[in-house]
Symmetry: C2
Subunit: 130 residues, 2 copies
């Protein structure tokens, strides 16, 4: 596999982002540095980086995915009012995968936990937004 400035930049942008950007968001951030990079290149490399285990993909029920620099098994919280995705710090995520392995004989390689609800900032806004 060849090193390319495009791939390095895409990886750097994801690593420098703490807000779990969508592919289009990565694209616009990358274009700020390299204006004529192609959207297809962004998608191709995001997918490649995911398959290499260098970044993580978080699929959303609302359609589309978000990308994350963290590869360790961990959990996310998504507010159904403001849409923000944040990390949920939980100590026992790896323990779950172990429990599954023992109980089922299946071999989990990655664990993705998504909580959906109302975030601290949006509690009380229910009637306005929904």
């Amino acid at each position: 596999m060849r090193n390319t400035v495009q791939r390095d930049l895409i990886y750097k942008v994801v690593c420098d982002s703490s807000d779990h950007p969508a592919a289009e968001t990565v694209y616009s951030r990358v274009r700020a540095v390299m204006p004529n990079i192609s959207l297809g290149t962004v998608y191709r490399n995001l997918k490649l980086l995911v398959s290499l285990g260098k970044i993580r993909e978080i699929p959303l029920a609302s359609g589309g995915s978000r990308f994350d620099k963290t590869v360790m098994a961990h959990a996310h919280f998504r507010c159904r009012l403001c849409g923000e995705v944040t990390d949920a710090e939980l100590g026992s995520v790896d323990a779950l995968a172990d429990a599954l392995r023992r109980a089922s004989g299946n071999e989990p390689e990655s664990t993705e936990i998504m909580f959906t609800g109302v975030c601290r900032k949006c509690v009380g806004k229910e009637n306005k937004a929904v």
Copy 2:
């Protein structure tokens, strides 16, 4: 909200399915009974049933969603070789949501856990399929 035979049938099909069907799969099963039902009707009612909390949506990183009769917080395992989605029986799922609530102040309403890996049946098939 009115009762419609279409919605009742869509709900029944999801409840009678134990394989976590995609929307298109629900559509084809529903059409076996009601041949001229519209795909839009299936999507609209799946979404409605999800928002009513009667069924559950499982978004996949590979694109699209699967639907599930079970509403309780629970976990799934998806084999990256055969693509099958099965339930992962774990006792401690609700405890995770409680831990999040206490730790962050966010208010989780649903918890979705997705394990990805190689299922028991596909262990050893690695070289053929990937």
